[in-house]
């Protein structure tokens, strides 16, 4: 650092520069806060503190003195903030209410083993369970009713089903278009087509949803002749439209950044334009295309409105022509009716945390692959 450039910063400017640095940390803070606050609301589920059992052992109100504050708070389903504000009388009347509620449980649940189960326990969340009245163990998501069933497997299956259909539809189209635009099209065509395809990403997802709901569902049903008009297949295809621009622009970037020398050498040796694109450029850009697919997956798994509008029944089925309910849809549709701070609310936040983790990982992988690819093309590795 031999040469001193410019004047040294004045004290006020020094402060301003520190301020700039602090503001720039806000993105890190935001990612951290998102994780912290989504996970915070879901924490009681992870810690096993939520209890949905319909029949609980009622504690007589006169035993108030003998209970520890922590236990009392859990027994009455109170948050710490609520608990602090309450005096003894309020707590006592709450305990009486609880006792009355226990006494009023309908007779048919008295002998039902499910009524004693805490359905937010991880066994109930992940494993099939034979509910009373069912012939065999089943995966069921049914958050309303006396006995709430929170098995998240149908939602995971629904999410994967819709996302995979979307990707199967979008990846070949987007990568094909990327090859055409970056390798085969004339420059003038390219200048028009590229921004036009990227315009697709500017269409709000509710609009794509409306189109899928009104037009695509009918057309696809006519072509394939299946029973239910709105199903995972329609949702997946509509989802495909939403991720095409994402995959296209990243793949196109990767294909374009392959050095001209590769193409020119292949063409000089007598390869056709297609052979060059397929055998030389695509293999060289493969990490970029892979990253495009991974990032497209991240986008598809997090898309809410399209799936919410097109299909929403939670059915445990791998059939693509059945309905499906994805994680995002579940959160969007059920948050309004979930009691703030209740088990249903907490489970929805837990699903949000899962979703965040899944996209975090896929973005990390996608970002890292692209970074390496760029370094490699620049010859630094």
């Amino acid at each position: 650092m031999g040469i001193h450039r410019g004047h040294r910063a004045r004290p006020l400017e020094w402060l301003a520069e520190k301020f700039i640095f602090l503001v720039s940390l806000s993105t890190i803070l935001m990612v951290f806060l998102i994780f912290l606050f989504v996970a915070r609301e879901a924490l009681p589920i992870f810690l096993g503190q939520a209890d949905t059992a319909l029949i609980q052992k009622a504690i007589p109100p006169d035993q108030l003195e003998t209970l520890s504050p922590a236990k009392l708070q859990q027994y009455l389903d109170l948050t710490p903030q609520q608990f602090v504000t309450m005096d003894r009388e309020t707590l006592k009347s709450l305990m009486e209410l609880k006792q009355d509620a226990q006494n009023e449980i309908p007779e048919k649940f008295r002998n039902d083993p499910d009524a004693r189960a805490n359905t937010t326990d991880w066994h109930y969340l992940l494993l099939p369970h034979q509910w009373s009245g069912y012939a065999k163990p089943e995966y069921i998501w049914q958050p309303v009713g006396q006995i709430q069933k929170y098995n998240i497997i149908p939602l995971l299956v629904g999410t994967l089903k819709v996302t995979l259909i979307g990707l199967l539809f979008a990846v070949p189209l987007a990568v094909g278009a990327a090859i055409y635009v970056s390798q085969l099209a004339r420059p003038r065509v390219r200048e028009i087509v590229k921004p036009t395809i990227e315009l697709l990403s500017g269409i709000p997802s509710v609009v794509v949803g409306v189109f899928a709901l009104l037009i695509m569902a009918t057309v696809l049903q006519k072509i394939f002749g299946y029973q239910t008009r709105l199903n995972a297949f329609v949702a997946g295809c509509a989802l495909g439209f939403a991720v095409i621009p994402v995959i296209f622009s990243i793949a196109e970037d990767a294909l374009t950044s392959v050095p001209r020398a590769y193409t020119q050498a292949a063409l000089a040796l007598g390869a056709s334009r297609w052979q060059t694109a397929w055998q030389i450029v695509l293999p060289a850009a493969l990490p970029g295309v892979f990253a495009a697919t991974v990032l497209g997956f991240g986008r598809a798994i997090g898309e809410t409105m399209i799936v919410l509008m097109v299909c929403s029944a939670s059915v445990m089925s791998w059939n693509i022509f059945d309905s499906a309910r994805s994680i995002t849809t579940t959160i969007a549709a059920e948050m309004a009716e979930a009691v703030s701070g209740g088990p249903h609310y907490r489970i929805l936040f837990m699903l949000g945390a899962l979703l965040f983790a899944a996209t975090f990982v896929s973005n990390m992988i996608g970002g890292m692959v692209i970074q390496r690819f760029k370094l490699k093309l620049e010859g630094k590795r």
């Binding site: 989504v38 278009a177 001209r260 334009r273 309004a336 896929s362 970002g367």
Partner: protein, 329 residues
């Protein structure tokens, strides 16, 4: 003089493969090359075709149902009735929430971009972490932003504000315009950062060097030389953020949108009606989908037009600014 003249058949611009290949292309016709090239071309056409179908479908169906009455009326509670309904509160709600969002997102995004391009040492860990955070923020699903807005802004910030101000009932600790706008600001932060960073990088380093050589401090250089040059780029970032946010519904579902409101939002703690959410309501909650269809299409068209209108205003500002800059320079 024996200078070597390049052979005339070589084009001047050797970076242009299309022109080169005209001279070196294999003469032989290869069926499979033709076939697969055609296939990729068809894929491109298919995507363009779908885009065209979506847009023409909306414009044709929406145009016949749209009227001045429709865009200037505050609807009654039953907004599924095609003859009396209107979308004025939704247009106002969407515009205000996007406007409030830009107040927050542009300063923070621009300052972060300034740090990343002008100050940050390229190899330091903190810079890499910031970049990773920006990339990750860009990929977080919009519904997770909604949960974040509910968990952080409403249940944490808002409730604590109510407690501090001793409000008898919840004023801040409930869904509100301000929380929806802030949630959207967090969501669009990466868009502004990336666009600003690109425009800052495009400014020739010579300008900075000249300013520094004349004795300006680094901050003066950024404020007087770099930022004015980057203004059109910053505008572009703003446009992109606005058009992204205007159509998003998932992040505002739990943070401020209302199914129905009799009046326009007057205060930042009010709830609001929103065009995108209204489209969703009309499409899924209608008692009679055939009767609702015209107003559904009209609302979709208004949403698309509004997005484009916001874009066009920003593009005009940008063009003027370019002209002004050119006159200065």
């Amino acid at each position: 003089m024996n200078t070597i003249t390049p052979p005339q058949y070589l084009p001047d611009n050797t970076s242009d493969t299309t022109r080169l290949t005209r001279h070196f292309r294999a003469e032989k016709f290869d069926f499979w090359s033709f076939f697969f090239s055609g296939l990729t071309g068809l894929a491109t056409l298919f995507i363009l075709g779908i885009l065209a179908v979506i847009l023409t479908n909306i414009v044709i169906n929406g145009w016949s149902a749209i009227s001045w009455h429709f865009v200037s009326t505050i609807p009654k509670k039953d907004f599924f009735d095609a003859s009396t309904t209107g979308v004025l509160p939704m247009i106002v709600g969407t515009t205000i929430r996007v406007f409030v969002m830009t107040i927050f997102v542009i300063p923070v995004g621009v300052i972060t971009a300034i740090y990343l391009t002008e100050y940050a040492p390229n190899t330091s860990i903190i810079t890499r972490v910031i970049r990773a955070a920006v990339n990750n923020l860009a990929g977080v699903p919009s519904i997770v932003f909604g949960l974040f807005g509910l968990g952080f802004f409403i249940n944490f910030v808002g409730k604590n504000m109510d407690a501090l101000l001793h409000n008898p009932s919840a004023v801040w600790g409930q869904p509100a315009l301000i929380w929806a706008a802030l949630t959207l600001a967090v969501m669009t932060l990466p868009v502004v950062i990336v666009a600003t960073e690109e425009s800052l990088k495009a400014i020739p380093p010579g300008l900075r060097e000249a300013s520094l050589a004349l004795g300006a401090t680094k901050l003066e250089t950024i404020w007087r030389i770099v930022l004015p040059q980057a203004l059109p780029g910053i505008m572009t970032g703003g446009i992109l953020a606005v058009s992204r946010a205007a159509g998003e519904v998932a992040p505002i579902l739990f943070t401020g949108v209302a199914y129905y409101m009799a009046s326009l939002p007057l205060h930042v703690t009010d709830q609001f009606m929103d065009l995108g959410y209204h489209v969703f309501v009309l499409a899924t909650q209608s008692p009679n989908i055939e009767q609702t269809r015209p107003i559904l299409y009209a609302t979709v068209l208004v949403l698309l037009l509004l997005t484009f209108a916001l874009n066009i205003v920003a593009i005009i500002i940008r063009a003027r600014m370019r002209k002004k800059l050119r006159a200065l320079g």
